[in-house]
Amino acid sequence: GPKVLQIPSHQIIDMGQMVTLNCDPVSNHLYFYWYKQILGQQMEFLVNFYNGKVMEKSKLFKDQFSVERPDGSYFTLKIQPTALEDSAVYFCASRRGYEQYFGPGTRLTVL
């Protein structure tokens, strides 16, 4: 079936550094999402993105977070600066119809 790819699979950084998480969505999909999952907890919505714009974001989507998809390339989540509480697995998803397809996640560890 359709695949969403995420790069890198793991990232370890020091608190205060910037990090960019990359998502390669399904090619003809129009809607893009980021979700955050802390170990042992439920996955939580961060943001959705359509037609080059953020459509909706949750309270977890702090001012230090930003998303973009320049020229139809990777859909990225940037965190600048990072904080300890940003440690989690971040999942990207894309959608054209009713089903959201998820990538395998990027495990971010902030030290």
Partner: protein
């Protein structure tokens, strides 16, 4: 929060047994998604049930939805070892279909 169950539940059953996992939700939704998540991978949609359906079947899976009690269940008949995974229910909300996930059930089949 959206969901009545806040903590990841755990179930362990033998191969061949039937199992039912339950979710309850607090806010209105027109559709409930059920996802499975294998270790190290992103969630994958396994069955979706809409508010005008009381029951939906797909192979050995059966989902039910009771909008009056705002609850949904997922049953697996004759569980197999490969059914071992974490199962999440999720509701859809908003114009851009953001998903709100429950805490999930970690199902273990086989030793």
């Amino acid at each position: 929060s959206q969901w009545g169950e806040e903590n990841l539940q755990a179930l362990s059953i033998q191969e061949g047994e039937d199992v039912t996992m339950n979710c309850s939700y607090k806010t209105y939704t027109t559709v409930v998604h059920w996802y499975r998540q294998d270790s190290g991978r992103g969630p994958a949609l396994i069955i979706l049930i809409r508010s005008n359906e009381r029951e939906k079947r797909s192979g050995r899976l059966r989902a039910t939805l009771d909008t009056s009690s705002q609850s949904s269940s997922l049953s697996i008949t004759a569980a197999q070892c490969e059914d071992t995974a974490v199962y999440f229910c999720a509701t859809e909300a908003g114009s851009f279909n953001k998903l709100t996930f429950g805490a999930g059930t970690r199902l273990a089949v086989c030793p």
